[in-house]
């Protein structure tokens, strides 16, 4: 792509990543974190970066928030280059790191005030944007940030990242270590922020959260495995999926895995999900009956988690 093309792309997308690579360590002991990743995020999109720990999500976020320099490739946020125009990016993005990074020895109110001040704005000016979120922790506004519960810390961190009305919001594993109810609430908040026109990039190790995004990218070992809307990814799941359960789940799983028709089998909630090599499941079911293993089976509709497990298995 020519220079003009890159410029045009930058204008079109809120985030544009072109062949970004990054390694850590010096000469002999190099650990690659990202191997040439490319993707684009449209303005106003809620984009999910899904992958296990160590996949390179944090590295990518740090490159996009100008905290790290890429070894190779280019990236832009809101049309600004992450290397050369880092000052412009730092003014207009909101960033919530994976680790709680607010001042633990300041109160809730003081933290919010502080971040409003360093972005040359005030709480009052952008209160409408954070109101929904901040109102939930406002009763504790005089409590030290370090003494908040996980869910409240996360709400405060999000409020602080939003107080200057960023155009692009980067949330690095915002729901890690947060209870299920708070996680659900958090995604509701993100939907409301999206309605405000804010582009949101969110990373998470939880595959079940992928369905909440407009588009998701699956990342593993620094490589992008798949990128599409959640429904398109599910549609691409071509193999037959069974759900089995029985009184002795462990023996059942071992027996399933030993059969030749089985492409993959893994625990999935109260069932084992079994991906078959062919459409006919009778061979497997007969084999289990012959071996005297009690079970009940039903057809399963694949969800995004099944898709990712397959994609990650294929990659290996």
């Amino acid at each position: 792509m020519g220079n003009g093309g890159v410029k045009l792309k930058r204008k079109m997308y809120a985030v544009s990543v072109n062949n970004i690579a990054k390694s850590y360590g010096a000469k002999k002991n190099v650990t690659p974190a990202l191997h040439g990743i490319s993707f684009d995020v449209k303005p106003g999109e809620l984009f999910g970066l899904i992958g296990p720990d160590g996949a390179g999500k944090t590295t990518l976020f740090r490159i996009l928030t100008t905290l790290l320099l890429p070894d190779k490739g280019t990236a832009s946020v809101d049309g600004f280059d992450v290397v050369n125009a880092y000052k412009s990016i730092r003014r207009r993005v909101g960033y919530m790191p994976g680790r709680f990074s607010l001042y633990q020895d300041l109160t809730v109110k003081e933290n919010l005030d502080f971040f409003a001040t360093i972005f040359n704005t005030s709480i009052e000016k952008n209160y409408d944007l954070v109101k929904d979120i901040y109102a939930q922790i406002e009763p504790f506004s005089n409590r030290m940030a370090g003494k908040l519960s996980g869910g409240m810390k996360q709400k405060l961190a999000l409020s602080c990242a939003l107080i200057h009305r960023p155009s692009v919001l980067f949330l690095d594993e915002p729901t890690t270590g947060v209870d299920a109810v708070s996680r659900k609430e958090f995604w509701e908040m993100l939907k409301r922020l999206k309605a405000e026109g804010i582009t949101i990039l969110v990373s998470t190790p939880y595959m079940d959260e992928a369905g909440m995004c407009d588009r998701v990218a699956l990342i593993q070992s620094g490589r992008l495995l798949e990128m599409d809307t959640p429904s398109a990814i599910i549609r691409d799941f071509s193999k037959k999926l069974l759900a089995l359960k029985g009184p002795d789940m462990l023996t059942l799983l071992q027996a399933i895995r030993s059969h030749k028709d089985v492409a993959d089998a893994y625990p999935f909630g109260e069932f084992h999900h079994v991906v078959l090599e062919q459409d006919d499941e009778s061979g497997l079911l007969g084999y289990l009956q012959d071996n005297g293993i009690a079970f009940e089976a039903k057809m399963a509709v694949p969800d995004i988690e099944d898709c990712f497990i397959q994609l990650m298995k294929e990659e290996r």
């Binding site: 740090r62 928030t65 100008t66 905290l67 790290l68 320099l69 880092y86 000052k87 730092r90 003014r91 993005v93 960033y95 919530m96 790191p97 680790r99 709680f100 990074s101 607010l102 001042y103 633990q104 971040f115 360093i118 972005f119 040359n120 602080c160 990242a161």
Partner: protein
Amino acid sequence: MFILLAMPVVQIIIFGFALTNEVKNTAIAVWDQAGDPAAVSLIAEMEASRYFEIDKAVSSREELDKVFRLGKIKMALVLPARFGSDLGHFNKASVQLIADASDPNVANTLTGYAAAVIGDYQVRITQERRQPYTIKPEIKMLYNPELRGAYNFVPGVMAMVLLLVCTMMTAITIVRERETGTMEIMLVSPARPLRIIMAKAVPYFLLSVVNITSILLLSVYVLDVPIKGSLLLLLGESFLFTLVSLSLGLLISTRVASQQTALFISLVGLLLPTVMLSGFMFPIENMPLPLRTVSRVVPARWYYNIVRAVMIKGAGLATVWKETLILTGMLLFFMTVAIRSFKIRLA
């Protein structure tokens, strides 16, 4: 590990050889009002001893005061106009020994040694001429006639406290934000390095203003150490030194990887040299050349000189301009390097 093994070696060498309170080649001034052969021979006797070195011959009270205030000499020998004739006619004469008692220990030692040299001279001429000569040294302790220790340690404590509070406290500030992760968000904001660094310096500067005030109040009203020179100048110089210490601390903080290293550097790398090489505990003149050279880069040495000159001796800016200029230079250097070392990214 290296530090654990090297430390005792270095300390033994430094304490054993370098940091001594012994008198050796101390610069003194001579005001010879007599100029007769007896005076010349006594001065020669002083010069010949390995304790003293005549740095300056002065010819007036004002000149004498000036060289004392500049701190170039620690003691002066004054021979009265009638020294030779008194000695010849009455077999009896007196000399005056004036010592800079802003460091009372050194003053005591110096006058003791000088009196001993004069005593030896007296014994020798008595034997040579077979007449009972008496030379009586009159000792005058300048600036601190009561020889109070506070005159010495107030400037020293000021230098140490300011350095401790400012450098050690600021040395951990920026690196602590890196460790706790708050720097990660701070960097993704419009806050520029200069603003972040200044914001770190201001609270400690205010803290130091309180410290300076309380030390001065205590020394004047509790320890009875008067402020002989201009209070404004003393405060100004103290603020300057505070800023030097702050910028040094910030420089450390921008360059180290952990709070522990920052503390270690400010403790071993700053506190020890400040205590040992500022002239507060051990006279710099007695140190061997390498240590004297090192002492030149110790900011506290210059500040200690300034406080002693302004507070105890009543000197003005005209006397301490060189020290002031050196501290200003250090401030600019540390500040510039600190801002340039500030990492605008994580790695």
